[in-house]
């Protein structure tokens, strides 16, 4: 993977840049010491590391605006960073860039139960939003696995998902407004406590833009009332096909579960070994289906899901008898990553989405790839929305294993696109999948996306080298594609 070549001129100006930043953020808010910088050298994608040129930790929107304005004047690149839990290298530092950490933006500014929304600073963790409102019976629905640590600003940058997305939507469906700073230091507000923002939906475009369009300094999210009851079913199948058929039939019957997670035999074994969740070991696939809502609805739907599961030949079925058991069923799935960590020295977590009905075919071809590369793969996935997380097991101490694992992962993502899916369901593109964008998009598709970038950041200073494989100057993107001047179009019907 290649990153933009560091700009020697910028690096030569490091002392001046530090001085300018210290004038904006005094004291320990500017980090220059190599040992301290090491804390920021990667995000959750630890395969790639790079010391930042300097890290700055602002505390106010005004400071963020001044930092960006200064860097804009000096032509210095910026890498925004939340909690650093991203899994695709979106917050990977650059040697010639200022990393702007939003960790000090930790205040919950307004809890407005009447309007069902909360206004927070971007460094507030996803879980902390729910913690702040759960006593009143509310919660914030998107729930990425890292919700205890990841910040809401990072969630917006990545359009983070989680298990509840099928029923309750992604981050983009739950954000009402933001305050953000553009690269030239301008502060703008998009949306608010009202539902529709009017004009072009810039808020929708900013969500999931991986820090390439601006730095978010305030967020308004909607909160939901907690459902009365939740029940989980643990359903095992003698084949992956039967598990897939069960998922399709549940949705086909008009039932949208609060969460529906599936795992294959290797993942089941690893999880059950790690924590006793009551998972059966003699099944090929296992579903955890959670139904939430009023008790009468949950009871009714539980029976319907049971009937559907039995109709497609489930070989194991248990319904959680109480809240403790429901939690127990989830324990295994929630510990998917550490579980797999116990059965392999290293693993790569992949993230792609496919149309659900292609699942058996994709798993079969994944097993063929597993044989080809000589590496094991365990699968956990959000069955309700087709978001796969193949975990590729390897040993970094074996020469060539990491390269093989990466090639295997790339082949899986290409397969996702081939069957009508996409490269990323919730982890983002970052640097990890950047060079695969061409699998999904044509040059013209990407040019149009980059023109959006140019509207926000004409100098291309915000998080360069991420998401898009080719750096274009905005002037190049502005060129018109003209074919032979005035085109005749005799085959268009005219009236």
């Amino acid at each position: 993977m290649k990153m933009p070549i560091p700009d020697a001129g910028t690096i030569a100006k490091r002392a001046e840049i530090i001085q300018r930043l210290r004038a904006i953020v005094p004291g320990e808010g500017v980090i220059v010491d190599e040992n301290e910088l090491r804390t920021f050298e990667c995000d959750g994608l630890m395969a790639y590391k790079q010391l930042p040129m300097v890290v700055v930790l602002p505390e106010t929107t005004e400071q963020v605006a001044q930092i960006l304005k200064t860097c804009h004047e000096l032509g210095v690149k910026i890498v925004p960073r939340g909690a650093g839990t991203g899994l695709s290298g979106g917050a990977l530092p650059l040697a010639d860039a200022v990393t702007v950490g939003l960790g000090k933006f930790k205040t919950i500014l307004d809890i407005d139960y009447e309007n069902r929304c909360v206004v927070v600073q971007p460094g507030v963790t996803n879980r902390a939003i729910t913690d702040a409102v759960e006593d009143a019976g509310f919660y914030y629905a998107p729930d990425p696995s890292s919700k205890i640590a990841c910040t809401i600003g990072g969630n917006i940058a990545e359009n983070a998902g989680g298990m509840h997305c099928l029923k309750y939507g992604l981050t983009t469906n739950n954000v009402l407004g933001v305050e953000m700073v553009l690269m030239d230091g301008e502060v703008i507000r998009l949306g608010g406590k009202h539902m529709d923002a009017g004009g072009l939906d810039l808020l929708g475009a900013v969500t999931g833009s991986e820090g390439l369009l601006g730095i978010i300094t305030e967020v308004t999210v909607r909160i939901l009332k907690q459902p009365d009851t939740a029940k989980a079913l643990l359903v095992g199948f003698p084949s992956v096909e039967a598990g897939g058929a069960c998922v399709a039939k549940i949705i086909g019957a008009g039932i949208i579960p609060g969460a529906m997670e599936m795992m294959d035999k290797m993942a089941i074994g690893a999880m059950q070994k790690f924590v006793d969740s009551g998972y059966p070991l003699d099944v090929e696939s296992l579903l955890v289906v959670e139904l939430d809502g009023p008790e009468a609805e949950v009871v009714y739907l539980t029976e319907r899901v049971r009937e559907i599961a039995e109709s497609v030949g489930s070989s194991f079925l248990r319904v959680s008898a109480n809240e403790a058991e429901r939690q127990q069923f989830w324990k295994g799935r929630m510990s998917a990553f550490p579980s797999v960590g116990r059965i392999s020295p290293d693993y790569l977590t992949m993230d792609g989405t496919i149309p659900r009905h292609r699942l058996p075919e994709v798993l079969t071809r994944m097993n063929e790839l597993s044989a080809k590369y000589g590496l094991r793969v365990a699968n956990v996935f959000h069955a309700g929305d087709g978001n796969l997380h193949p975990l590729i097991l390897f040993d970094a101490n074996i020469a060539g294993d990491l390269d093989k694992a990466e090639s295997f992962g790339h082949d899986i993502l290409k397969l996702c696109v081939e069957v009508g899916g996409v490269l990323s369901g919730e982890h983002g593109i970052g640097v990890e999948k950047r060079d695969l964008m061409g699998e999904m998009f044509t040059e013209d598709d990407m040019k149009q996306q980059l023109r959006l970038k140019c509207a926000f950041d004409a100098g291309g200073l915000l998080n360069p080298g991420k998401v898009y494989p080719t750096l274009h100057r905005c002037a190049e993107l502005g060129k018109m594609h003209v074919k032979d001047g005035n085109l005749p179009f005799p085959d268009i019907p005219r009236f």
Partner: protein, 393 residues
């Protein structure tokens, strides 16, 4: 001379846009059935790009909850196909009949204008259901974004940007979108003469009973309903819709009746009447007349204070977050007064007025300078020569 181009495939659209974007730049009015021509500033384009020939459902997988249709596909055709599979467009696109007196409408038009109905607080708007699209930009380049799966963070989400862009960025040739199962049962709890309608609406909306619509009709508006329980109430009517599996609906309605009983007398509508009433609310058919019509999106708690300052007749949807206001026609459509009444942000759209009023009065909420400039730059990235529906937004 004005021309009407009626492309039958993507290549025709591409050719037309390349023609329009080169040499002597030509302006195009992009339209499907033209059913929402009353929305936005009136077009005075030299040429019309009529997408109604670009029609047909190209993919429908009910078990995947996804459909793809050409931009000019009649929305009625989509709804008929969904009906057959007992599914629906959950965001409830409104019929333009009540607003503009026009029938029809296309898939492209529904998403380009990002229409949305009473279920918005529960399930989102058109933009939340749009998964991907193919389009030709004002540069004469074909491109796509998004996909046909629900969970997708691959590149910038241009799909959201296209939803509601009123055909000013690019010409969509097809759209992929999410569909959802129809509910087994639907009921509406009615509250007559609520003592504090704002509080009653929010109590229902913020309950754990997953309501799929909360509206309030003042007495004069309720009197025009085709549902006799509503029109005959002789009082204001607050309506709360509950949808889902049968046993669940029963229990939730009972709980809502108890929750709302301190606010006034309670009645309940069954399936057919529920469908009729919520169609009226969705299509704003209470105001199917010649008055000027405003649509205000606000924080729900702001609604009552806002209407107290304004003339005309109103009703609330989205538990107070959406305010429809019909006023007698004036040259200015009372724009300054209406927009001045927005307390804590929000936006007001002039949904219906004569062409000359819509030419003078900003139809959509004017944006703050920085945002307006940004939108201008974004638009230039898609359509630098301003050939697509210029001035409509």
């Amino acid at each position: 001379m004005s021309d009407i181009f009626k492309p039958e495939n993507d290549k025709h659209v591409l050719d037309a846009l390349r023609w329009a974007a080169t040499g002597n730049v030509k302006v195009l009015e992009v339209r499907g059935h033209g059913s929402k021509r009353g929305l936005g500033r009136a077009q005075n384009a030299d040429n019309v790009l009529d997408l109604s020939g670009l029609s047909g459902i190209t993919l429908y997988e009910p078990e995947e909850l996804v459909m793809t249709a050409r931009a000019g596909t009649p929305i009625a055709e989509v709804q008929a196909a969904l009906d057959d599979a007992n599914q629906m467009l959950a965001f409830e696109p409104w019929s333009p009949k009540g607003l503009y007196g026009s029938d029809g409408g296309t898939v492209g038009g529904v998403f380009a204008s990002a229409v949305t109905g009473p279920r918005r607080p529960l399930v989102g708007s058109a933009r939340d259901h749009m998964l991907g699209f193919h389009a030709v930009s004002g540069r004469g380049e074909m491109f796509k974004s998004g996909g046909r799966v629900v969970k997708n963070v691959t590149g910038f989400d241009l799909t959201k940007l296209m939803a509601g862009s009123m055909g000013t960025l690019a010409v969509m040739t097809d759209v992929s979108f999410k569909v959802l199962p129809k509910a087994e049962k639907s009921r509406t709890v009615l509250l007559f003469g609520a003592t504090d309608p704002g509080q009653a609406m929010r109590a229902a909306q913020n309950s754990p009973y997953e309501v799929s619509g909360v509206a309030h009709l003042p007495q004069s508006v309720a009197a025009r309903s085709g549902v006799s329980y509503v029109s005959g109430a002789g009082a204001s009517v607050t309506a709360v819709r509950v949808e889902g599996p049968g046993p669940s609906v029963e229990v939730r309605c009972k709980a809502l009746r108890e929750l709302l009983s301190p606010y006034g007398a309670i009645e309940e509508l069954h399936t057919a009447n529920t469908a009729s009433l919520w169609s009226e609310i969705r299509d704003v058919s209470f105001f199917a007349d010649d008055r000027q019509l405003w649509r205000l999106s606000v924080a729900p708690t702001d609604g009552p204070a806002i209407v107290a300052q304004l003339p005309g007749e109103h009703f609330f949807d989205w538990a107070g977050g959406l305010l429809w206001l019909a006023i007698d026609a004036t040259d200015t459509a009372n724009a300054d007064q209406v927009r001045g009444a927005l307390i804590n942000g929000g936006h007001a759209t002039l949904m219906r007025a004569s062409e000359d009023v819509r030419a003078r009065v900003p139809v959509f909420q004017p944006q703050a300078d920085g945002v307006a400039q940004l939108m201008k730059r974004v638009r230039a990235g898609f359509d630098p020569h301003n050939i697509l529906n210029p001035g409509r937004m």
